[in-house]
Symmetry: C2
Subunit: 397 residues, 2 copies
Amino acid sequence: MISKDMAKQIEGSSAIRAMFEEGAEMIARYGKENVYDFSLGNPNVPAPAAINEAVKEVVDSEDPLVLHGYMLNAGYEDVRQTIADHVNKLHGTAFKPNNIVMTVGAAGGINVFLRTIIDPGDQVIAFAPYFGEYNGYTSNVKAELVVVPPDTDTFQPNIEEMNSLITPKTKAVIINTPNNPTGVVYSAETLKKLASALEAKQKEFGTDIYIIADEPYRELVYDGVEVPYVTKFYDNTIVGYSYSKSLSLPGERIGYLVIPDEAADSEKIIEAAGVATRILGFVNAPSLMQKAVAKCVDEEVDVAAYDKNRTALYEGLTEMGFECIKPQGAFYLFVKSPFEDEKKFCDLAKKYHIIVVPGSAFACPGYVRMAYCVSYETIVNSLPEFKKLMEEIKSMK
Amino acid sequence: MISKDMAKQIEGSSAIRAMFEEGAEMIARYGKENVYDFSLGNPNVPAPAAINEAVKEVVDSEDPLVLHGYMLNAGYEDVRQTIADHVNKLHGTAFKPNNIVMTVGAAGGINVFLRTIIDPGDQVIAFAPYFGEYNGYTSNVKAELVVVPPDTDTFQPNIEEMNSLITPKTKAVIINTPNNPTGVVYSAETLKKLASALEAKQKEFGTDIYIIADEPYRELVYDGVEVPYVTKFYDNTIVGYSYSKSLSLPGERIGYLVIPDEAADSEKIIEAAGVATRILGFVNAPSLMQKAVAKCVDEEVDVAAYDKNRTALYEGLTEMGFECIKPQGAFYLFVKSPFEDEKKFCDLAKKYHIIVVPGSAFACPGYVRMAYCVSYETIVNSLPEFKKLMEEIKSMK
């Protein structure tokens, strides 16, 4: 009795979960210290202590009717003011509270925006490899997800290929930088090329094409790399931000949309977002957590811990002969599978108690994703096992 | 550039909001004490103090990686165990944690369940008058909302009319008891009749038809009335519960679905609900608040305060000649409009600074909804104004 589309979603979403479940079974059988589970992007660096302090402060100081009550669907005005100020300070933008809509994570925000602009049959473009959940988000609104094939040399978006896929039905292009699963950061040059390509297509078709900038990993970057702010390159940009990774609060479901005045029909979209958040059942972002993050906009998680993991795993694996682009952000390594069929690699890795996710879950077969948001010990202890795995692979060739 | 359907949703959802905005304008002009705003169902009784204590306790005692992290999409196992035990104790049921899926309020839960079972073009039945948001929830999944006309004598569901509207495409019937906007509680007798009618239709068409029991007002009842637990009457019942009203936490977005083992395909539905909650962007119910409500399942808000309002408003209005069924639950009065066109009544009421919502927003024209979750003073001070209003109406006839 479940719907046809939901049956398809369950089928399609099984890859990461299947790996996670196999990992859980292995842990039960062999013990946590003997399993190297790189399947899930669940932060292992705790939220800054300031978050819990902020939580306690707001419950002690705010009127419970306000703190736990309904507010405007877009969120508390003072919270949106604080966030607008913070974004403006960091990026030299000029957003007002009105441009900020608090959401149930970035996932909630993207769903709200898609609900706002998509009619069934409209098209949304994503660049492979992409976060597999976009399949679900677009299926929710009966949009067609059009996939641009990967550029596996750089994992930057393939803009020429994108151009050939845009039609009058293209309503949005989702980008995700720093990227899950590659860790790549889109450069200013890339964003300029993307913007001018989209501007030309908007002109050609007389349409508006929005960039949805999915940015949960914005704050997780290494080697001093800069993540350009997309609204500065292209007017029709909607930003989906989340505190899931930047403050290690994935379970709290707190994030926001930025809907700039420069975006086409921004006033109508802001109004519609308020209705969409309500009818989708979110209604508003969790109220206590809105107030808590507003007190913590200057806080950071311990990015150095992720960096240490990144370096150890990247250097360890490449020394053994694995091929991988060096990630500049997020907490994933996207490693070329030594076999053409990466599922064969995933299966063989399990023999060494190593759990990785096949790239086909990200529309990029031939690769595997490793989430290095694990303990440093897990990384160090996994390396000898990876070495044995590589030796077995070499002996097979 | 907003979608065609969203334009329709904005149009349709404007009635309550329009009244609320007019109320806000009036308050700005005349002062809060001179405006009688009965437009919104926002609790005015604060959350029990135990909630804030529980919040502080969990942030002080739980590992932040667990407390703020991802868990199973369905929610923390211990929280679901606590809630299952609590429901079983109250209602003599036998639910296990597996039957409970934590959700972002009841609205989130209903959206998750609809996403799970609905294919475009399927039908969902609601009994007028019904909570207008059901229009949005069903439009999200491209279902057709089929409305059973009201029985304005009793405001109990019109089961004969429902029977004539069920087709092989009917996937669900939404009921809401205690009811928004009437305050009516469905009796055990009514539920028995409803269940046997649906069982007959299931047999006739060889389909499964789920009851969605939308129960945010379950705990707000008066005069010792009992609210029968729907799963005990009909196997294919899914309950959507929320702490928004029972603990005055509407902004926190915390509730749950009950998916009983007895429901058809319950295992698949439970699995699909976990996927639906993820792809809709909720991912999981806010984690800190899951833990906090689990510590407060035995807490209650001050229902006596609502009861005092109910009695004062109901008695005051009926003495003046207004016609209204006496509500047994929730915090709404559904009053017959002295004019056939209830919008005319809403407009005239504004002259006396009284804000009420037209019944057409609930698919029941000729009536108005008054939300009495306001201060007792507002009720008392509004009565002389209602009296003047009634006198003007009488003089017009």
